[in-house]
Symmetry: C2
Subunit: 417 residues, 2 copies
Amino acid sequence: MWTELGMDLEAHDQLMESQDNLFAKIHLSQENRPRAMALFDQAFHASHTERVAELWEHRKKGGKAIGTFCIYVPDEIALAVGVVPIPLCGGSDWPVSYADKMLPRDICPIIRSTFGMAFSDTCPYGPLKDFIVGETTCDAKKKTWDLFGFKVMEVPQKKNDIDRKLWRKEVIAFKDMMEELSGKAVTMDNLAPAVRLVNRKRQALQRINEFRKLEEPPISGLDALLVSQVVLNMDTGRFVTAAEELAEELQDRAAHGISAYQTAPAKRVMIAGTPSPMGYAKVQHIVENAGLRIVVDESCTGERFYRDLVDESPGRLEDMFNAIADRYFTIDCSCFSPNTERLNNIQELLAAYRVDGVIHNILQYCHGYNIEAGAVDNILKEKGIPSLKIVTDYSQEDAGQIRTRVEAFAELLDERG
Amino acid sequence: MWTELGMDLEAHDQLMESQDNLFAKIHLSQENRPRAMALFDQAFHASHTERVAELWEHRKKGGKAIGTFCIYVPDEIALAVGVVPIPLCGGSDWPVSYADKMLPRDICPIIRSTFGMAFSDTCPYGPLKDFIVGETTCDAKKKTWDLFGFKVMEVPQKKNDIDRKLWRKEVIAFKDMMEELSGKAVTMDNLAPAVRLVNRKRQALQRINEFRKLEEPPISGLDALLVSQVVLNMDTGRFVTAAEELAEELQDRAAHGISAYQTAPAKRVMIAGTPSPMGYAKVQHIVENAGLRIVVDESCTGERFYRDLVDESPGRLEDMFNAIADRYFTIDCSCFSPNTERLNNIQELLAAYRVDGVIHNILQYCHGYNIEAGAVDNILKEKGIPSLKIVTDYSQEDAGQIRTRVEAFAELLDERG
């Protein structure tokens, strides 16, 4: 299989080794983890082993798959006709420099990591997808998709009626694309169960993250992040089962007052900003090691991913498409102007999770979240909540400097009492 | 006046001195310039003197003005009701670092220069505008407008029917804004002459630039750029008069075989990519000093600005608004996905101006034009036209390095014969 996938096995081994070392250091080193986290540790590892084999089998049987890069692509519609969406966002530092062959160095590490894997023949998913569906959420992604001739969904930039209309049209165009690819029509019979399944996934994530509101969270910020990362790669049904098992265990731990943290109650922080794809948890690791507790992730690999459900009630297909489009239209990505919705959502999260401080985790060259951090800070200042902005990439070179800044921030929070 | 404008006069003197020195070095040092260029030299200087006084008087009489940052804002509609659009794009290196107070350092120098001027109290236009109308053409601009609460026109990202519809709505919303600001209705009586006037401006620029197709252009690339830069600041009527005078002189020079260049015929290059606002001509200066001739500017301060006219024929107001919207919708900014129109336009320009080589002039952190340069290069490779990509900012620090690269590029072109 690996040879047929055109992989450079030696390079892939190097990549896996660097990932496994990092994973052991960041996740496995934690004490008192929920037992069910083993399912997600396994899923992390499987993303370059069993999951690849699974999709390989799916393809052998004539199954279809698409590559995606953004939580705007409506999974429900693909899954309805048996097309598997494979999120391709890279989270590993190892292949980043390989991207320099074709792309500028000063774009975000997500794109560079992904294309670095492709160019270094270490991404097993390249030959497993039929095509890629990108979107227009930022300049660097949009133009990279154009350069490589990907299909592109237009995400509008305002939230007026005409924008909603435009987005609904894009969702229908995506539906047409999936029908053409699969040779199957999307019907209420296949769409309704897909909508319910993807909603179950979001509900399981909601349930897990709800426990982070507790004074003593039964799951660490690092583990909650891992769950939100692997969900993008796992088979949806299998994820729901694993997530429900974890939620049960967390329920039990909460009932018995079992905390994920060994330390005395500490300050509660929100991580806000850019996504942290699987393989990347540099800032989060530093933050929790500095004694802070990450209680909420305000990002696409956090609350933004599972906050809203698709309305399951429509009985007509057309209404169901609108319900799907409208659910994705509520996503508060920094690509919107103005992005009032995000500022409101952040305020709700600050209260619900009793946040003491906010850490902006901004991947370098993401102008959107970087500049919007200023608007978030205006609100935080009013509320007297301190914030720290970290602009970084996937490398470990600035880890020491970030640690110093985070420790100073932790002290600042402590001094405030 | 200067005190009432809240200017820091000492800092402003420093800014002016740095600009005047650069201007003398870049433009005035050229030999054999058209006499009429004196009008544009004067306009450059006037942008921080007489033009300010003129707008000051306009305001004193109750006149209105808006700040703009992009050639998507339809001047015709503002001018119809007496609102003066003031393009605010900064081109000076001097104030750039002042922007760091409020904005990330890794965004494009245009934004940093503009906000640096605002924060250092060296921009006289701040108090002369009623409000600013930004747009969504790139992440950094869009989010900066949001941060400062500017009004924003949504430029769509595809060119489908629904996008055209969306854009037409934005143009009507802009019309409403101008009516509210001025207290006057836009009618055929005031709009039609404004459309004609702005078209005259574009036609004058077309006529001037047409002479650059000649074997021996009667105007240098640097001077053609200057004309395209000051047009954004000058009173439209006055610009048309000056541009027509220049065009007449160029006609005469062309008839007598008078070249702007003192050297033997040299290689002809296109400058492609990001805009070069007034005050910035670093790359162009290096290129022409290396003996190359810039015969066409493929940018917003070049062909993109004057290529298309608004259809003057509609007799009904509604049709006129559509004609205006549709004209602006043809702009081939890298914000579109895909941007096939730009690739086609570049191919036409390459032939029309008999271009030997292309220099991508990319302002740092402009992901759009930076990545799209790859798509342009794919076409150039097919045609066997060499290209050089320069990613730079407004500082002079990399001038030596750029000179070395440009000279090597000039040699490469020469060797090809």
